[in-house]
C-alpha cells in the first residue's frame, strides 16, 4: 500500500505512534538489562510476530491476508513493547518485500502495534479481573489483537478516503471480514502454545498467568 496515504495522514499517524514506540523502546531496554526470564519471553514474542505475519493465509471470503501474531506479546508485555516489535517487522517487510510501505509505516505501526494490541490488552485485563479461564482468555486476546488491527486499517483508510461512513463499509468488507477466520486460526494456535508454555515453563508465565491452585495440589 506504499503511497496510498497522503503526506498529511502519513505524518499524522507517525506522530500519533511515536510516543508509544519511544516508551516501548525504553521498556525493551529495561527488560533486556534486568530480567533474563523476561528476555526469553521477549524473544518469543518477537519470533511469533515474525512467523505469523510472514504467512499469507486464505480466508473463506476468497481473499487472503496476514495474521499479526501480536497477541502473545500484548498479553505478556502490553502495548508499548508490541509497537516496537511491530515496527521491526514492518520495516523488514517494507524494505525487503515491498509490503506495507515506508510512507504508511506510521499508520501500520498504529493499527498493528498499538490499536489492535490496546483493545486486546484492555480485554485481557478485564478477563483477568473476572477470572476467565486461561485458554478462553488467550484465544479472545489473540483474536482481538488480530481483527482489531484490520478494523483500524479500515478506519484509517475511510478517514483518508471519505465520505467516512460509506467508505468505512467498503473497507471493512475487504479487511475485517476476511480477517475473522484468520483471527480464529491465530487464536487456536496461541491457545495451544500458551497452554504448553504454562506446563513446560511456569516460571516464565506466572507473572501474567498465575499458577492454578489445581495444578499445585
Amino acid at each position: 500500500m506504499e503511497g496510498f496515504l497522503s503526506l498529511e495522514w502519513a505524518l499524522f499517524w507517525t506522530v500519533v505512534s511515536a510516543p508509544f514506540v519511544v516508551y516501548g523502546f525504553y521498556r525493551v531496554r529495561r527488560i533486556i538489562k534486568e530480567d533474563p526470564a523476561q528476555r526469553t519471553m521477549l524473544a518469543l514474542s518477537g519470533a511469533f510476530i515474525f512467523v505469523m505475519s510472514s504467512f499469507k493465509l486464505p480466508s473463506v471470503t476468497g481473499s487472503s491476508s496476514h495474521p499479526t501474531g501480536t497477541g502473545f506479546s500484548t498479553m505478556f508485555f502490553g502495548v508499548g513493547v508490541t509497537s516496537v516489535m511491530s515496527l521491526i517487522v514492518l520495516i523488514f517487510q517494507a524494505l525487503l518485500l515491498a509490503h506495507g510501505g515506508l510512507t504508511t509505516l506510521g499508520a501500520n505501526v498504529f493499527s498493528m502495534g498499538i490499536a489492535g494490541p490496546f483493545v486486546a490488552y484492555a480485554a485481557f485485563r478485564a478477563m483477568t479481573k473476572v477470572r476467565v479461564p486461561t485458554p478462553a482468555k488467550v484465544f479472545i486476546t489473540v483474536f482481538l489483537a488480530d481483527v482489531f488491527t484490520y478494523i483500524t486499517t479500515a478506519v484509517q483508510l475511510a478517514l483518508a478516503y471519505g465520505p467516512f461512513l460509506s467508505s468505512l463499509t467498503s473497507f471493512l468488507a475487504v479487511f475485517a471480514i476476511t480477517q475473522i477466520p484468520l483471527g480464529i486460526v491465530e487464536g487456536i494456535l496461541f491457545t495451544i502454545f500458551v497452554d504448553y508454555l504454562e506446563r513446560a515453563r511456569p516460571d516464565l508465565t506466572e507473572r501474567i498467568l498465575p499458577r492454578r491452585v489445581a495444578d499445585e495440589a
Binding site: 512467523v51 517487522v89 510501505g101 515506508l102 467498503s170 475487504v174 497452554d195
Partner: protein, 94 residues
C-alpha cells in the same frame, strides 16, 4: 480426553478453516487484502494517484524466498526455545 487430544482437535480446526477457505472458493486466486484494498481506494476516489513508489520490489520468486526467510528467523527462535526446554527436562534439571 487427554491434553494432546485437545491440541490435535485445535490443529484439526485450523486445518478445516484453511482448507474450507480453498474449497468454498474454487475459482478464487486469493488476492491479498492489501491489493483489494487498493482497488477499493480506486473505486472510492478514482483520481487518487499514489505519490510514492516502493524503493525496491522483489519479483514473485524472490518475494517467496524473503517471506520464508522471515518465517524461518522466527521459527528458529521458537524451535531453539522448545529444544532447550526438552533437553533440560531430559537431563532432569529443567
Amino acid at each position: 480426553m487427554r491434553r494432546s487430544h485437545y491440541y490435535l482437535l485445535g490443529l484439526l480446526a485450523v486445518a478445516v478453516l484453511l482448507v474450507s477457505a480453498v474449497i468454498l472458493n474454487p475459482s478464487s486466486d486469493f488476492t491479498g487484502t492489501d491489493d483489494s484494498g487498493s482497488d477499493v481506494i480506486n473505486d472510492v476516489d478514482p483520481d487518487y494517484e499514489p505519490w510514492f513508489e516502493s524503493i525496491w520490489e522483489p519479483s514473485g520468486e524472490l518475494q517467496t524466498l524473503l517471506f520464508t526467510l522471515q518465517a524461518a528467523i522466527g521459527a528458529l527462535i521458537i524451535g531453539y526455545f522448545i529444544g532447550t526446554n526438552r533437553a533440560h527436562k531430559e537431563r532432569g534439571d529443567g
